[in-house]
């Protein structure tokens, strides 16, 4: 089939999809006909072979009038780039919106071979705007359909100014309170969640439960930036404020939001003018919070915001940044560009201290992302779609583009959806605490099983982000291509940090067949299409039985090029064609301290078991680990959990880490010491524990990692990236303590 014909057919498909999205009666008998037509038209007869599993008629969820959309060509999320002045201006607005979701209906009459289905649900959804205004002509996200937030694309060293508006109307989602756990009852009125005794085995309680899901914030996952003030500060909570406007942020971006806050106290120690500006912002916030209780009260807590304002005062008395914010919140991050220290021309006399770079680490250029991170509401908000890609470009990107001129770049934000308005657990067949998996199938950029068309021998650059809450159904977090016509791929980066040449080069002779993609992980792969036309799928490689089709991420359609248009067929094949590893990403050879961190979840006591780290849940006001700034440490991250769903993906903010050793008791007798150079990660699934058949004791799985607590002091977190576990308390508050002091001898 010619490319021209494919494009033409794709256009026809788009027109048909737009028409049929609105037109058909959901209950008419022609639905099966529709899906067959859509498949046939979308790329000709070859495409109909993509979906042999779709045997049953598509169905609709909850009586909504819609038509499921699947198998359409993948569209990258809309982008907001930084400008030539090195500043990215964006407005990110969260609000309640009805959005169409397509999925595979594993709860229908054919659970083993689920048909496509769809429904319209009210979600907390991102709208992304270029610039500094809520201007519909500058909106890059898609209204009315499930899709991620905008892709922020900037260069390392740029400044990202994001005017953040929480326009969620609490009346849209009235059954979720900040200070109490959400409640689910059975039909007799008995409380099932959070539960009082016996069921679940250890009931969730504040603050480690699903709650407060109309309050939100942002985490810039993979960035090496300050965790304080207006930067990657996940302790901040932005409450709903329907009157907030981006103009409120403009002034503060110019004055205080983008100053450097390398330690928690830095915001208290600025010049007099900045201090005055800060106080103006703080005062405005305090006034707004108190007024919210009158003009926009929480449905079930009429004095909430006044109490939050009082807590801010308390925090300020201790020099801490205010926790609760109303109005526009001026997020400002500046992922630092590493600049090597100057080399002196001659040996100074007398000897001077060795010059140091401004930033010891620098931001690794690569594929990163952002998502909601308010404790207690992270999982429902990410299920609602509150995540997006963040691509920070640098020498890595420039070199790959030099080697592969004109290369097509695909951004794949993988998400999953569940229909409930809040995240409270249900009882049910699996027992209290079991989360439903009603809505199976991954969405990529909001699309169900999209198609990526490649020309024979074409090499494309795929940036893949696992933005799911818990991965695929029963996911083991391993992905690869299936099918006789499977492409080859060469991985160039993990978690937004490039591979060293020594880790990339072996793939040239022996390409990998799988890559790790736990929730939170990113991979960059160069995908090389086979030399002949055909199809293949990118799937979760789960060894356990799955409903047909639910493990498919995307389908690859390889076509024969029949025109003379050039396309990229190159990939780095020699060291000079490959990005050089920046010096700040060299191996951490020496460490000054070692620690053991134990992730624990005893599922033998039944579903809903408490998720623990070192025997404890997250607790407000308690710091679990403290490290001195600029120390290099080795942590052994153990997993004492056994069973399904408990290969906890360990994630730590601000600094990436190198995995040096892995032990999986199910498959290894001895730990696997990994060869250098070590790969950098920021999220790593801990191998499961294994119960010893003789003693009954759990032998923990583990990995060892080395990290450098560089550049930024402050409070941030490590946690399980199965986000429901994080909400329920599998999170540690850590503090990196500044290694400088104002105390001097005089």
């Amino acid at each position: 089939m010619s490319e021209h014909k494919t494009q033409q057919n794709q256009e026809i498909t788009n027109v048909q999809a737009e028409t049929t999205d609105q037109a058909p009666d959901p209950r008419d008998a022609g639905r099966r006909q529709f899906i067959n037509q859509a498949l046939a038209v979308s790329a000709g007869a070859a495409l109909s072979g993509f979906f042999p599993h779709l045997k049953a008629a598509p169905v609709q969820g909850s009586g909504a009038k819609c038509a499921p959309i699947l198998g359409k060509e993948l569209v990258n999320p809309g982008e907001i780039p930084s400008g030539p002045d090195g500043i990215l201006h964006a407005v990110l607005r969260v609000h309640g919106e009805d959005r169409l979701i397509s999925y595979l209906d594993v709860n229908g009459t054919n659970p083993n071979n689920p048909p496509p289905a769809c429904g319209t649900y009210k979600l907390r959804a991102y709208e992304g705007y270029k610039g500094t205004k809520v201007d519909k002509s500058q909106m890059v996200t898609k209204p009315g359909v499930y899709n991620p937030g905008p892709t922020f694309r900037a260069h390392v060293g740029d400044t990202l100014q994001i005017a953040f508006l929480n326009h969620i109307d609490p009346k849209d989602f009235p059954e979720t309170e900040d200070k109490h756990c959400d409640v689910a009852r059975n039909s007799s009125g008995t409380e099932l969640y959070p539960g009082k005794s016996g069921k679940p085995p250890c009931p969730d309680s504040y603050p480690d439960c699903f709650r407060g899901s109309n309050t939100t914030n942002l985490h810039f996952h993979g960035t090496h930036v300050s965790p304080n003030a207006f930067s990657d500060n996940v302790l901040v909570e932005v409450v709903p404020d329907l009157q907030a406007t981006p103009a409120e942020c403009d002034h503060f971006f110019q004055t205080i939001a983008c100053k450097d806050y390398p330690n928690p106290q830095a915001w208290k120690h600025v010049d007099a003018k900045s201090a005055q500006e800060l106080q103006t912002l703080v005062n405005r916030n305090q006034d707004r919070l108190k007024k919210l209780d009158q003009i926009q009260p929480e449905p079930n807590d009429k004095t909430l915001h006044t109490r939050q304002a009082a807590q801010n005062v308390h925090l300020q008395e201790y020099g801490e940044f205010p926790q609760y914010w109303s109005g526009c919140f001026p997020y400002c991050i500046r992922p630092p560009k590493y600049v090597p220290p100057p080399i002196p021309d001659q040996l100074p006399c007398p000897p001077q201290p060795e010059p140091k770079p401004q930033y010891v680490m620098g931001q690794a250029p690569g594929t990163h992302w952002y998502h909601a991170h308010k404790h207690g509401s992270t999982s429902i908000q990410v299920y609602n779609g509150m995540a997006g890609a963040m691509i920070l470009e640098g020498d890595y990107d420039a070199k790959l583009r030099q080697t592969m001129p004109g290369v097509q770049e695909k951004v794949l934000v993988i998400q999953q959806f569940q229909p409930q308005p809040n995240r409270e657990r249900t009882g049910g067949a699996g027992g209290a605490g079991t989360g439903p998996n009603a809505f199976a199938g991954s969405l990529v950029n909001g699309q169900l099983q999209p198609v990526i068309t490649m020309k024979a021998n074409e090499v494309q650059w795929w940036r893949i982000i696992n933005g799911t809450v818990q991965g695929g159904k029963d996911a083991l977090f391993i992905c690869g291509f299936d099918g006789a016509n499977a492409p080859k791929f060469f991985q160039t980066a993990q978690d937004g940090v490039q591979f060293h040449w020594d880790n990339y080069e072996p793939q040239l002779k022996n390409p990998n067949t799988t890559f790790t993609l736990a929730p939170g992980n990113r991979v960059d792969i160069l995908v090389q299409a086979p030399s002949k036309a055909g199809t293949a799928t990118l799937v979760y490689k789960d060894v356990r039985p799955q409903p047909t089709g639910t493990n498919i991420i995307v389908t690859v359609n390889v076509i024969d090029p029949t025109d003379a248009l050039a396309y990229n067929q190159r990939w780095p094949q020699s060291k000079d064609q490959y990005p050089e590893m920046p010096p700040f990403l060299h191996d951490i050879e020496e460490v000054s301290e070692c620690r053991i961190i134990k992730y624990q979840m005893d599922t033998s006591k039944g579903p809903g078991s408490p998720p623990l780290i070192n025997g404890r849940r997250f607790e407000e006001g308690r710091i679990d680990e403290a490290m001195l700034l600029d120390t290099r440490q080795e942590w052994t991250i153990q997993n004492y959990s056994v069973g399904l769903f408990v290969r906890h993906p360990f994630h730590i903010h601000v600094n990436p880490f190198q995995v040096t050793e892995v032990f999986d008791p199910a498959t290894m007798k001895e730990p696997l010491k990994l060869p250098q150079p070590w790969i950098w990660w920021d999220t790593f699934p801990i191998p499961l524990g294994q119960k010893d058949a003789t003693t009954g004791k759990v032998i923990p799985g583990y990995f060892k990692m080395r990290t450098h607590f560089a550049d930024f002091a402050g409070k941030y977190v490590n946690h399980c990236h199965i986000l429901a576990h994080e909400d329920r308390g599998m999170m540690q508050l850590i503090e990196v303590v500044d290694n400088k002091t104002q105390v001097i001898h005089h």
């Binding site: 909850s62 709860n107 009346k171 849209d172 009235p174 059954e175 059975n186 009125g189 439903p436």
Partner: protein, 101 residues
């Protein structure tokens, strides 16, 4: 055994002689959950016939609002009504709960 599902019942303005609850009946399996999404301009409070007003939903669901989940652990037919408008002929519905297959 299938894992529990969560389904939506929409509350929408309806022509006379019909119900504001859509779909009606809502048919689910044992251990599934139901929540209500109010698309009318008035508040509504689904409650089981013969039960307390706040047995399923603690407070009336405001316009545009959505309720929390109600888990149906028993099989059978569960007729319900709007506790805020108990005399309205169009504000009645049924949840039918089938055994797990």
């Amino acid at each position: 055994m299938a894992e529990p599902n969560i389904v939506k019942v929409t509350i929408a303005n309806a022509p006379a002689q019909t119900t504001i609850f859509e779909p009606n009946p809502q048919t689910i399996n044992q251990f599934d959950s139901v929540f209500w999404s109010n698309e009318t301009t008035d508040s509504h409070q689904p409650a089981p016939d013969g039960g307390a007003d706040d047995q399923w939903v603690s407070k009336p669901i405001p316009p545009k609002g959505q309720s929390s989940q109600v888990v149906f652990e028993d099989t059978g037919t569960f007729p319900y009504h709007c506790a805020k408008h108990p005399d309205s002929a169009t504000e009645k519905g049924v949840i039918t709960v089938n055994p797990q297959s």
